[in-house]
Amino acid sequence: MQSIADIDLGTPERRSETQVTLQIDGCEVTVPSGTSVMRAAALADLKIPKLCATDLLEAFGSCRLCLVQIEGMKGYPASCTTPVAQGMKVTTQNGELAQLRRGVMELYISDHPLDCLTCPANGHCELQDMAGAVGLREVRYGYAGANHLDAPKDESNPYFTFDASKCIVCSRCVRACDEQQGTLALTIAGRGFDSQVAASQGESFLESECVSCGACIQACPTATLSEKSLIEQGQAEHSVVTTCAYCGVGCSFRAEMRGEEVVRMVPNKDGHANHGHSCVKGRFAIGYATHPDRITKPMIRASIADPWREVSWEEAIGHAASEMRRIQGKYGRDSIGGITSSRCTNEETFLVQKLVRAGFGNNNVDTCARVCHSPTGYGLKTTLGESAGTQTFDSVMDSDVIMVIGANPTDAHPVFASQMKRRLRQGAQLIVADPRQIDLVRTPHIEAAQHLALRPGTNVALINSLAHVVVRERLVKEDFVRERCEVDSFEKWRHFVGEDRNSPEAMAAVTGVPAEQVRQAARLYATARNGAIYYGLGVTEHSQGSTMVMGIANLAMATGNVGRSGVGVNPLRGQNNVQGSCDMGSFPHEFPGYRHVSDDATRALFERQWHVNLLAEPGLRIPNMFEAALDGEFKGLYIQGEDIAQSDPNTQHVTAAMTSMECIIVQDLFLNESAKFAHVFLPGSSFLEKDGTFTNAERRISPVRKVMRSKSGYADWEITQLLANALGLKMDYTHPREIMDEIAALTPTFAGVSFAKLDELGSIQWPCNDEHPEGTPFMHVGSFVRGKGKFMVTEYVATTEKVNARFPLILTTGRILSQYNVGAQTRRTENVAWHDEDRLEIHPHDADERGVKEGDWVGVQSRAGETVLRARVTSRVQAGVVYTTFHFPESGANVITTENSDWATNCPEYKVTAVQVTRVTQPSAWQRRYQAFSERQASLLGEAGHAAKPANGMPVR
């Protein structure tokens, strides 16, 4: 069932320079050439009955309900598959057509249950509507014949039901899975009367290839595929457009509501990032927002050994403020800091950095982007001039060669991956550079031309050898470089990458990638009409993360692949608002809009607006905060929606630092890992409980709208405002729109952004200002933001994290489709049906050597620590490399990761840890301590009146 707010025009939009005018039922209609008669009629508000057509899918022409008569054409063409023609005269309604349609409907209804009144689709069922529209009055065949009314229900998927008895076999679900999602998990099995929708080979949906994206449910015209929430709650009565709070794709959704209850989240067809598509997280995994684990009352305690005490907001804020001031009084102005959240809105992030800079009086503010895309900010700013991706997502539909480096889009950015896969099925070529065989390397109808399976940690060696081929084989776009780039820097770079030591042959020993493959990939990318690079944390989370980002930018510039549709350098952002949190000045050295704190003019601007003096010296980054804490110089930390105790590397180091602090204020939905070390807990609000904006990976600012009251009483921006006022920094915003107005006034790239304009346009890609009043889909068109593009010499320097006899394997980490980052949200949803523990992927060769079999418990030891996981033996990882996800705290993936980090930005080197793997029979010492500590913290929470329970169900081992 589509959203209750959507109008379905029957077939997809066609774009054309040529306009065609035709007459439909006497009305003149003008539409782009290629448009179907059905859509043209719908645009003129003439509704042609239909069942198998929907504007999310290409026309199919199977239901025969949309037959029309066209002057000069024989018979009754289907309006969905008939394109318009100049001067065409169409009749959509007359007695003859009515009779035909009634005949068709009669057949459908003769094998359909007549339980409309108790059916979940009641009120929004297309079959029901069409029966009405064609005036069906009787079914002459009766209902006693062979039928499918007893067909079994499949309720295996936790979120939706497949009720075959209601199925009309229109194939919309099958086509949605093929065209929209690109998983091709559904088919019509059998034929004739036996035809039925089947998942994979007729197994349950849960066991099939289905990835639970929800496209089939949205496409279903009846109640056959229905959300369980809809079945339970009934039809929504209103819907609100908002933006998903999971990954950096930033899908637009319609939250379908009954009062303050969400019935279901339906992807918004008008959404500019997702065009009506969704994934299992955004579509279904919102149960966490109303999960009983949510803490809704402020709590304080003197030490982390004390029980939590529920207090009033007034007391909690007063206590937090006085503690922060006490610490500053005792240890100095710089002894406290704050961390903004990439999960919160732009407005909320802006307020936290304002609180730190203007209220704490220092620049000790950082954000979780530190541990993910900080090298992107640094690298792209240095080379291109702006700390952001260059393209809009739709750009991929113009790409001819797509290079994916260190990203796993089908798991981590599934909705964009579906779009990319659509382009790949159309014939674009794919290059994947990843140590592991990600799904994209080979998935139905898609096969990478090259999979450069490099060794973790050798990205820069690889990019240099790709560049070497471009330079030495004269594939440089000389005119582009001459016109658009700094010639000096280019010549230096050309000389450097052209050196023999950077050749694929010389680097093969480092990267492990055969030279011929590198050469082929370089030629493919460099000679493409449009070559696009998409990359993820496999690029940034390295000791040379920033170098690699610059290496990518170099390659794109040298091949002329910047500044138009289909090309570009595209960081796939991990979190919903990681772009936004960086834009909003969350880094210790930058004000909003990436302007350095030492820049006098910028500082003066903020000082005038905020009526305070601001420091010209950058503050502490997150890892520096930990160091300072362990040195006894950093004692107070305000954390907005981030879980550093789980997500930051070398957990034991992090928790030691946290234990040494005197006041940690955690603002979150749950008593997360970090909150176990906190002294003040301020209950935050979910994305459903507040207004604001998120900015996605394509710089798209999208509205987040409040659909229910905050469970804790305050949205996160209000909490920060309370704290600021208690600290004497006056804030009196009454709505986030006022915060955005302040951002716009202070930040040139946001100058034209306002909530009113967002309402008008739906979303805006910054820069949005006088020059680009409606935003900027493509950056660096004509010239680079910094003027001339700057090539940077990117010398490969091997990480100090090296394998040896003691730690012979390299551990690398990543995400899985059904879970999200630290899992605080997705672990509290039914998504655990797909993934309920993190496993260690190990190559059969390495497993054999260690006597490890599928499912065995294995200890993973690194220089930093040890944890225990179950093994998954698979040749997806190469020999010598092991891989795990990090969604469950008890897995302790970050107990093993080290403090190595990017030389420029301190982004941790999560992707390379030397480890040993051995079979074990019990949890690691860390896990036993973790379990005991978590149980103790749960009991301390229990004393505050919450139901005590062990944290997140540590598996019994």
């Binding site: 079994p152 229900k153 499949d154 309720e155 295996s156 936790p158 899975c177 998983t183 091709l184 998990a185 559904l186 088919t187 019509i188 099995a189 059998g190 034929r191 089947a198 998942a199 994979s200 080979q201 007729g202 349950s204 849960l206 066991e207 099939s208 290839e209 990835v211 798991d411 799904d439 080979r442 998935t443 139905p444 109808h445 898609i446 096969e447 899985i816 489709l817 059904s818 049906a833 797909w834 993934h835 998954r872 698979t874 040749s875 997806r876």
Partner: protein, 169 residues
Amino acid sequence: MSARRPVSVTLRVEPGSDLPADERAAVLEAVQACRSLQGSLLPVLHAIQDRLSWVPPRAVPLIAFELNLSRAEVHGVLSFYHYFRQTKPGRHVVYLCRAEACQASGAVALEAHAKRRLGVDFHGTSADGRYTLEPVYCLGNCACGPSLMIDKELHAGVTPARFDELVAE
């Protein structure tokens, strides 16, 4: 259906690793022979059935993997054509024509006789495992009905007596 624990989407059992050797070989050889053809799925399914006398559903993951299709796509095609068998037949398959021309020349009586003789209904396999009886709609031999085909061999003008001879051979 019960909510059984799913195979995790990233769990990769090597496709085909659980197949009996002959089935695995049949799939791989069929794919090898037909891979270059456009729309190679149908020829591959035919080649497998020619060799194994059926297309085991458990071979579908390997077929899908080799042709880079989804399992659903293969299943859709496999189940659409009744000729493709998803269960193992007897040692021989008797395809008895039930189309109009054969019916007009004695196929109805032949059908009754065949069922009695083999002790099975359509789609059944005789107790000794020798014959599976299948209906077919036209073997393109209308002038000489009733017709039937045993495995790939076509027989015309089949009387009940001739049927007995054929199955006795």
